[in-house]
Subunit: 150 residues, 2 copies
DNA sequence: TACCTAGACAGGAATGATTCCTACATAGCA
DNA sequence: TGCTATGTAGGAATCATTCCTGTCTAGGTA
């Protein structure tokens, strides 16, 4: 999804986030991809247009935008943090081989609940379902390499 | 759950894992708690009885036991790795304030599936549901501090 | 039972994502 | 247009984890 600069600015102002060229560039890069990039990925994407931007700014900005609810952090396994410009409730498919992450929108999964007994006194705010498996390209690789393991 | 040394040894041998005092101590500490400890937590627990054990051995052993299917890594948010001696399928309640993790056993959650369309060609192996909220003690703290925010 | 050797252990160095620090720059308001 | 709180750049620091290397030992064998 490509976003007009005015739309980015509007979203920032709605959340009382100061508008700077760096922030707009980082947010635009994130919203324009569905690949759940890492901070380092975003740094590389953004420094093409803004060669002087520092990693620090990327980390700082990601923190600001997260607190403002303009992005969410997606953490899969014990890997580096990844970011998602889609802040609506959704779930993930994760490839156990290449770490690719794809979004799953499914209202049935959104409605999951647990009983009070199971909740152990927790005040539950939300939930997330993570499906693990092999993505299309890794399945293909495995089929060639070892047919019995797929 | 307290485990007899013989039972630990039996489990190791069943998975062709060499039996050493260090490994038995680490595994026993993990299985005896429900707190999903970090590697550092386990290091502290285990060095009480084995003061010369190195962190390296803890990390190495956790890797060995994970590959053998004797424990699983639980990763919540973008925090340090935590470990769980419960290797049966289960789900988690996570406190967004203090990071406490509690297990949820629920066969309905175990049976979740997604449609082929949603699966995007993934070969799904399993899934995990994570519920986020405030645990009992953090709810209590919040009630005192700011009644309208709970 | 003593010996052998692949694999395990200890401890220190290295790595790498993330955070901290600080001086300079700028968004947004008066 | 000027002021000031906040953002930015860049380098240093942090810290969980991994790597390296020289002993040590579990578990099989003679």
């Amino acid at each position: 999804m490509t976003l007009h600069p005015q739309e980015i600015e509007a979203r920032f102002r709605r959340q009382a986030v100061r508008v700077t060229r760096q922030r707009a560039a980082i947010y635009a890069a994130l919203v324009e991809t569905t690949s759940h990039p890492t901070a380092e990925d975003l740094y590389r994407m953004v420094t093409r247009q803004h060669p002087t931007m520092s990693r620090n700014t990327v980390y700082y900005t990601l923190g600001v935008l997260r607190k403002a609810g303009l992005l969410q952090e997606v953490n899969v396994g014990h890997e580096v943090a990844r970011f998602d410009g889609n802040v609506t409730m959704h779930h993930h498919l994760v490839c156990v081989q290449c770490s690719r992450i794809e979004d799953v929108m499914d209202q049935e999964l959104d409605r999951l609940e647990i009983s009070a007994r199971q909740a152990r006194g927790f005040h539950v705010l939300g939930h997330r379902v993570e499906f693990h498996g092999y993505c299309v390209s890794c399945r293909a690789g495995r089929r060639e390499a070892s047919p019995s393991q797929g």
